[in-house]
C-alpha cells in the first residue's frame, strides 16, 4: 500500500520553494521506486525511472492544478518514465527475456517471477491494481487509456497468471476478444 501523501505537503511543494519540494520528494521516493521496480523488474532501470520522475516532479509541481490528483499525476509520470526506459533498453540491449528470467530466478519475490512472464502493458495494470491498490478509473487515468481497456488488460493478465500461481479458484469468463489477447 502506498504511503499516503498529506495534501498540505503537496500544496506546500506546489506553492513553496526548494525545501518543500524536497520534503515531498523524500516522501514519495519509496513509492516511485517500488512502482518502477515492480513494472520494470530490475533495480537499476527502476532507480533511473524513479529519478527521472522525481526530476519531472521537481520541475513541474507548480503546474499541478489539483492537489487531490497528485497521486495519479505522479504515478502517471513514473509509469511514463518506466515505459520510456523499457522501450530504450529493449531497443538497445539484447535478449531482455533471458535476462529477466535469470534475474528473477534469484529474486525472493515469486510474484515478480510471475509478472516477468507478462508483457509490459499487462504488467503495468497488474502492478497498479494489486501493488498500488488503484481502482480501474484511477489506472485508466494513470495510463491514459479507457477504463474498458484497463479491465480487459486485467482480465487477460489474470488469465495468464492463473497457471503460474495456481492457488486460487477464481473463474474467469472467456473473452470474446480472444484474438486480441496475443496482441497484448
Amino acid at each position: 500500500m502506498a504511503t499516503p501523501v498529506p495534501t498540505e505537503l503537496v500544496d506546500a511543494a506546489r506553492t513553496g520553494g526548494r525545501d518543500e519540494i524536497e520534503l515531498l520528494l523524500r516522501t514519495v521516493w519509496p513509492d516511485a521506486y517500488r512502482l518502477a521496480r515492480a513494472v520494470l523488474g530490475e533495480d537499476q532501470p527502476a532507480e533511473d525511472a524513479a529519478q527521472e520522475a522525481c526530476i519531472v516532479l521537481y520541475r513541474t509541481i507548480a503546474s499541478l492544478r489539483s492537489v487531490a490528483a497528485f497521486r495519479t499525476w505522479f504515478y502517471r509520470i513514473v509509469v511514463r518514465e518506466a515505459a520510456q526506459i523499457k522501450r530504450r533498453r529493449s531497443r538497445t540491449e539484447p535478449a531482455p527475456e533471458a535476462r529477466s528470467r535469470a534475474a528473477d530466478q534469484t529474486a525472493p519475490i515469486d510474484v515478480g517471477r510471475a509478472l516477468s512472464g507478462l508483457s509490459h502493458k499487462l504488467r503495468e495494470v497488474v502492478v497498479l491494481r494489486y501493488f498500488e491498490d488503484l481502482s480501474s478509473p484511477e489506472i485508466a487515468s494513470v495510463l491514459g487509456v479507457p477504463e474498458g481497456t484497463v479491465r480487459f488488460r486485467l482480465m487477460i493478465a489474470r488469465q495468464r497468471l492463473r497457471p503460474l500461481l495456481g492457488d486460487y479458484n477464481e473463474r474467469f469468463t472467456q473473452s470474446s476478444g480472444e484474438a486480441r489477447i496475443n496482441a497484448l
Binding site: 517500488r34 515492480a38 529519478q51 513541474t60 519475490i109
Partner: protein, 219 residues
C-alpha cells in the same frame, strides 16, 4: 478475488528494498533542464570525465588542409590540429539550429548534418575549427548513461583527415579527445564529408542507426 494473490503482491511490494533518494542528481537534473515545456534535460559539465580538451601551443605551423587536420591514433584518441584561432575557432554553446547551419555554411565541403541520433538527444555545443572541420557535442538522453552522456561528432573534409598511421602535424593549436574513455572512434564517409564519432555510451545499435540514417541522406 484471489486474496492470496493480492496478499502476495502486497508482500512483494513491501519486500522491495528502496535505495536512498539520489537528491543531488535530482537537483542537478531539475536545475540543468531547459524550461518545463521543452521537457528536455540539459546536462553540461562532466565533459572532463569523457574527454579532456587542451589547447597546446607548439612550435611551428605545418601544412594542413582547410587550416585543420584531424588525426586518429590507434589508442582511440582524436587529435585536432589547426593553425589559428581568430576567425577560425568559433564555438556556440547551447546552439540553435541556425547556429549549426551557420557553422555548416562556413565549411569548405558539402556538410550533411547528423541525423538519426537517439530520440531526446540535444546539441550541447558546436565548434568551427576551420573551414575543414566542425565538431558538434551532443547530450545523449537517459539517466542510465549517468556521467558519460556526451557524444562528440566531428564532420570533416576528407582531405583534412590524416591517414591512420600519420602522426599529428606540428601545429600552433591542438585539441585532443578520447584519451580518458579509451573507447576509440568510428569513421565513415557520406557524400563529400567524413564523419568521426567518438564512442561513448552510444550503443552499437544506436550508432548503426545513426550511420544508416546519415548515409541514406547522402543519396
Amino acid at each position: 478475488m484471489h486474496s492470496s494473490f493480492e496478499l502476495s503482491c502486497k508482500n512483494a511490494r513491501d519486500a522491495i528494498a528502496v535505495p536512498a533518494i539520489p537528491l543531488d542528481a535530482i537537483r542537478y537534473g531539475a536545475h540543468n533542464s531547459r524550461n518545463a515545456s521543452a521537457g528536455r534535460r540539459r546536462r553540461r559539465v562532466v565533459a572532463a570525465a569523457v574527454a579532456s580538451l587542451s589547447l597546446v601551443a607548439v612550435a611551428a605551423a605545418a601544412e594542413m588542409f582547410g587550416h585543420v587536420q584531424v588525426s586518429l591514433n590507434p589508442s582511440g584518441e582524436v587529435h585536432l590540429s589547426f593553425d589559428g584561432v581568430n576567425g577560425r575557432l568559433t564555438q556556440f554553446r547551447d546552439p540553435k539550429g541556425s547556429d549549426i547551419q551557420k557553422a555548416a555554411r562556413a565549411m569548405n565541403f558539402p556538410v550533411i548534418l547528423p541525423k538519426g541520433l537517439p530520440a531526446g538527444t540535444d546539441a550541447e555545443a558546436v565548434t568551427v575549427l576551420g573551414p575543414g572541420a566542425m565538431q558538434i557535442v551532443y547530450n545523449l538522453p537517459g539517466a542510465w548513461r549517468r556521467s558519460n552522456h556526451l557524444l562528440f561528432v566531428i564532420l570533416a573534409n576528407p582531405k583534412s583527415v590524416a591517414p591512420d598511421d600519420a602522426t599529428p602535424p606540428k601545429s600552433k593549436f591542438s585539441m585532443q579527445f578520447g584519451q580518458k574513455t579509451g573507447l576509440g572512434a568510428v569513421r565513415w564517409i557520406v557524400g563529400g564529408e567524413e564523419v568521426i564519432v567518438l564512442k561513448s555510451t552510444i550503443t552499437a545499435a544506436e550508432l548503426a542507426h545513426f550511420k544508416a540514417v546519415m548515409t541514406a541522406r547522402a543519396h
